[in-house]
C-alpha cells in the first residue's frame, strides 16, 4: 500500500458515458445552466478546438476555474462533450453526431432556441442603451 494513497488526490480518468447511457434528462439538466449552454454553443460553433480558459474570456463574466471545471464535468458526464488531455491543456469536442443519431433534432432545437434568446436579449439591451443615452443627452 502506497503511504500516500490515503491523503493523495489521484486524478481520476475522465468519465465519458457510452451513447446508450446518455439520457434526455441529463442532457437537459446540463444545458439548463446559462454558463453551460454558452460553453456548449461556443464549442458547437467552432467545433474541435476549445480548452477551458479560452472559453473563460468568451463567456463574459470571470468564472472561477474550479466552477468552470465543474461545468465541463457536467457536460462531459451528460455525454455532451468529449475531453482529452493534449499536453498541459484540455481538448474538448462535442459529441453532437452521436447524440443526433440517438435523439434526432434535440441538440439543434436547443441550440437554436438559445441563439434566438441571445439575439433577443442583445436587441433589447441595445434598445435600452439607446434610450438611456438619449435621456442622458436630454438632461
Amino acid at each position: 500500500m502506497d503511504s500516500r494513497s490515503r491523503t493523495m488526490k489521484v486524478m481520476r480518468p475522465l468519465l465519458h458515458p457510452s451513447i446508450e447511457e446518455i439520457t434526455v434528462e441529463s442532457i437537459l439538466h446540463a444545458l439548463a445552466d446559462p454558463v453551460r449552454v454558452a460553453i456548449y454553443a461556443g464549442l458547437f460553433q467552432s467545433d474541435c478546438a476549445k480548452n477551458c480558459t479560452s472559453l473563460l474570456g468568451g463567456c463574459g463574466a470571470s468564472i472561477p476555474k474550479s466552477t468552470l471545471s465543474q461545468h465541463f464535468k457536467v457536460l462531459r458526464e451528460a455525454g455532451l462533450i468529449r475531453s482529452e488531455r493534449r499536453g498541459v491543456e484540455m481538448h474538448n469536442t462535442t459529441r453532437c453526431a452521436e447524440i443526433e443519431a440517438r435523439f434526432p433534432g434535440l441538440l439543434l432545437a436547443i441550440l437554436n432556441a438559445h441563439k434566438l434568446q441571445q439575439e433577443r436579449k442583445a436587441k433589447t439591451a441595445a434598445a435600452s442603451r439607446r434610450k438611456s443615452n438619449a435621456t442622458a443627452k436630454g438632461q
Copy 2:
C-alpha cells in the same frame, strides 16, 4: 389590519410568466426532471384535460401530493403550462402553441427524445424480463 393577516397563509394567485419572460433555461430545467417530463408528455398527448391527481396514477410511483404540487408549480412558472381552478380541482393545459411561436421546434424535439427514450427503456425491460423468465424455467 386583519387580525389573521400575519399568521394566515393566503393562497397566492397562480403565477404565469408572459411569453417574453419564458427562458430556454427555465424550460430545460423544468423538463430535466423525469417526473415533470412525464407529466408534461401526458398533458401534451391528451391535451386540455388533466388535474394533478389524475396524473398521480399515470406516473407510476406514488408521489406525495405536496411534491406533485411543487412539480406543477415549476412547470407553471417555467411557462410550460397554464393552470386554473375549475371548482375543487385544477385544470392544467400546455402552452405549447405560444412556446412553439417563440422557440420553434424546441418542445417537439424534447418530447420526441423523451418518447424515444421511453420506448427503448420499455424494450430493454421486456428483454430482461424474457431472459429472467427463461432462466427461471431452466432451473
